[in-house]
Subunit: 123 residues, 10 copies
Amino acid sequence: MLRRGEQPAKRLETFPNHHPGRDYVITLRTEEFTCVCPVTGQPDFARLIIQYIPDRKIVESKSLKLYLWSFRNQGIFHEHAANTVLDKLVKILAPRWCKVTADFAARGGISITVEAEHGKRNG
Amino acid sequence: MLRRGEQPAKRLETFPNHHPGRDYVITLRTEEFTCVCPVTGQPDFARLIIQYIPDRKIVESKSLKLYLWSFRNQGIFHEHAANTVLDKLVKILAPRWCKVTADFAARGGISITVEAEHGKRNG
Amino acid sequence: MLRRGEQPAKRLETFPNHHPGRDYVITLRTEEFTCVCPVTGQPDFARLIIQYIPDRKIVESKSLKLYLWSFRNQGIFHEHAANTVLDKLVKILAPRWCKVTADFAARGGISITVEAEHGKRNG
Amino acid sequence: MLRRGEQPAKRLETFPNHHPGRDYVITLRTEEFTCVCPVTGQPDFARLIIQYIPDRKIVESKSLKLYLWSFRNQGIFHEHAANTVLDKLVKILAPRWCKVTADFAARGGISITVEAEHGKRNG
Amino acid sequence: MLRRGEQPAKRLETFPNHHPGRDYVITLRTEEFTCVCPVTGQPDFARLIIQYIPDRKIVESKSLKLYLWSFRNQGIFHEHAANTVLDKLVKILAPRWCKVTADFAARGGISITVEAEHGKRNG
Amino acid sequence: MLRRGEQPAKRLETFPNHHPGRDYVITLRTEEFTCVCPVTGQPDFARLIIQYIPDRKIVESKSLKLYLWSFRNQGIFHEHAANTVLDKLVKILAPRWCKVTADFAARGGISITVEAEHGKRNG
Amino acid sequence: MLRRGEQPAKRLETFPNHHPGRDYVITLRTEEFTCVCPVTGQPDFARLIIQYIPDRKIVESKSLKLYLWSFRNQGIFHEHAANTVLDKLVKILAPRWCKVTADFAARGGISITVEAEHGKRNG
Amino acid sequence: MLRRGEQPAKRLETFPNHHPGRDYVITLRTEEFTCVCPVTGQPDFARLIIQYIPDRKIVESKSLKLYLWSFRNQGIFHEHAANTVLDKLVKILAPRWCKVTADFAARGGISITVEAEHGKRNG
Amino acid sequence: MLRRGEQPAKRLETFPNHHPGRDYVITLRTEEFTCVCPVTGQPDFARLIIQYIPDRKIVESKSLKLYLWSFRNQGIFHEHAANTVLDKLVKILAPRWCKVTADFAARGGISITVEAEHGKRNG
Amino acid sequence: MLRRGEQPAKRLETFPNHHPGRDYVITLRTEEFTCVCPVTGQPDFARLIIQYIPDRKIVESKSLKLYLWSFRNQGIFHEHAANTVLDKLVKILAPRWCKVTADFAARGGISITVEAEHGKRNG
């Protein structure tokens, strides 16, 4: 949760993984991702699920919240949002595996889910 | 849905009720209401339910979408958000009855729902 | 189900109520109501629920299906669709009580439900 | 459950109510009611719910099963099935209150529920 | 959502995939697919799910809505509807993998789901 | 939970109500009630719900568990089980209001729920 | 749906598969399968799911409805019902793969599901 | 959420109600209430629901979190927990109506829910 | 269902498999398994699921009911109950594959599920 | 359940596996795991699922309850909690396979699930 003065930010912080000898899966899930349609400027809403097997770093959850908040007034297509978050996590965490799922609410009666993956979960 | 150039707005538009001789209930529901905490500045998310018995006017749904969008970057307490939306609808529609329910997502493990009503549904 | 040659129709058929001495409730429900937005021309979809206490007549269900089908390419506002179906049933059946609920799928993130009633269920 | 040789039957058996000094509600529920459409001859399927406040008699559940089985190959309209079962129970049990709900599976996309009641639950 | 003057159309539009170096899955889902039975002329209703791994093109969602709308008054068998949509997407997008699932509402107590796939998801 | 040597028992223990100045509702619920059919000797299973407004006494929950356990090998009709538990609680607790609901699993495709009440909840 | 004069029948009709170049899966599902216990004569009820990959033929759904109806008064064990329907479909359709699942309602507190398969789905 | 150095506390803070002219209902809900059994010392877990119609004061939600946290290592009977929270809120807020529901997880197969109310919701 | 005089029994009866040329799966499921804790003597409750591919024999369901009833007053650990039922079925049926799942209700807030398997489902 | 004087403890007790010749899976599940955030000191809540294939030892469930209780006032990160429980079980049981899943309630709108595994389930 935020203290007064905290701001949305594109920077993710990490802390060391204490169990690097074991492949284990961390899943972060929020119902509260929102961004803006780059064509119409209207708000979009998604459930976002981030899953990864850490190598040496674990993402710090408060910085993740500020990072996801940074999309609030940003124009981005559904298909790119999931890939952008994945690219960021791969760059910061260098995880053994990572998958981002963005499940957007329906527009015009059609909903869009995008699932992007880096590496293989079993391998 | 928005056309390019549409903007969030505090103004609600109406059209005439073609069945004023009958008390009937209109329910508008969205999972996509978001505003900002006036203390911490962080985003809040709610399911919003608007119910009313129209008298002479019905709220136009696109203007309602723009009106709800106008809260996106506005700081407002949970308890006041429902009352503010209700006050607005009562002023614009002069409905025979109106109820607004705002069901906010949990913060610190506690969720808050606010239900505010104008007039009586039966009578 | 339709035989070849059946067509959507605005005419409802009835058969006599064999239990007029008792107030009982008949509920007809479909997930397959569709009409067209009178402004944009685009399709709308609704769950429709019809409830009534018959007096001397019961609506024949195949004719009801053809009647609901007749809205498929008709332009009509959400708020009027429920009232129009209610008016029709009241005229044809002269029921002791009747209620029509039309629960339309979301457009622009907002769904609309309209509940219109004729008479009182207990009285 | 049936022993070999048991048959569907229109006769209901009862046993005495041991608690006639108290109004209490018995609910019998089955997902396995089936009868035949009197027009087309095709099978219909319903969930059937029987509720009553006994006076001096309680319906014996095995005889109820045989009674409901007796509709299996009988042609009857949805609206009449519920009323017929209610009439039978009222005649046999003389209950303080009784309600029969028959919730038929959809035909042509429309499902029909019939709720018939004898007496008042609170009175 | 549609602007005045938009029409159902058989033409799908695309935009370039910005992440062609990664296999990722896009899922489009609607509860609002309707077409007409080619034998009886009556309306059919389905949930339609489109999934694909894009190569160089992504389908533009508004054109998809207009394309699905184009089936509204078209006679087509359940088994062919899913294959026809799949064929169209394969032709327009040349995706690495594509699957179309059409889940039709029950007729005569029997529902039909058709799942057609082009290529292999893992390969 | 039981200590070694604990036994099913027909005796209920109580402790004093510390808030007798306020009407409040206590609900006890178990999915684990089982008794035996007095006719066939076979096991029956029910969800049992006990609700009451205490006057001067509250039932001690471990003794309630032992009491409900005492029905495990006892032959009793569905209709009488709920009334028997209610009679016992009324005698021991002298509550301002009490209701017992026994919801028995289906036999021969028919399930039975019995709801017995002592006094009025609001009054 | 049935026209007057239609009868249950053991004969299944087919129409040609227009997409024989593609392996795709058709699923037919009904909650309305009923037959009779060959030992006690009592009715049994099941959810029936038929899945297949067509080769040259597709089963015509109305004839399937009449075929399933033909079990209504036939004595057959749960374990044999699924296998009998599967054998019939394999004989008539010569499908690339076929699976029949029959999920029977509980008797004596035990439900039985039978899953029988012909060929391999992926192969 | 807590800042470093925050502690569980028995003190509730309030802020003024800006809509005292209207009776409206605020519902606070948490799945994370835990206390300790006063007899065995073992942990108990409950869903806690607080509902009230404010008069001049609204409870500040962070202080409510600290207050509920203060029960974490406190021994208290299920029946008293709900009443104690209600007494506290009535004392601090002087609300027009207030209800506390504590829904404790099962022990020995029996769950306990306690609903305590101050004043009447309608009047 | 039981006739008068039937008793719980450790003996399972079988009948011949009429489709030995096909590997198919039979699933038997009950929510009504109960036994006794060997340490405390208190009742335990489980959902029991039996799945097998028959070779030459199918278990007769009434004898299975009597067999499961035989655990009602028997002391047995959760971990051993599933294995004991599996051993019995393997011995009596010599199935191609068999799996028993026992899903016991929570004690002290912890539930236990045991899944024991004989042979491989595919092979 | 606890007897007076029982305390949270880091020591797990075991009893011998009576079916070491068979690989079978034991699943222990609780909704009642709570620990403390090491940064803020505030309580965290999780659903904890422990699954293992025993070799020679089975964990005694009462000692497991006392062990999980021992985290109640211990500061530990979400990511480490699952690994710590897994390490402990592996050390005490030397299981053929073990997996621990900790599914923590949302903080700041983001929930975290950690799944840690020792060995392979099939192998």
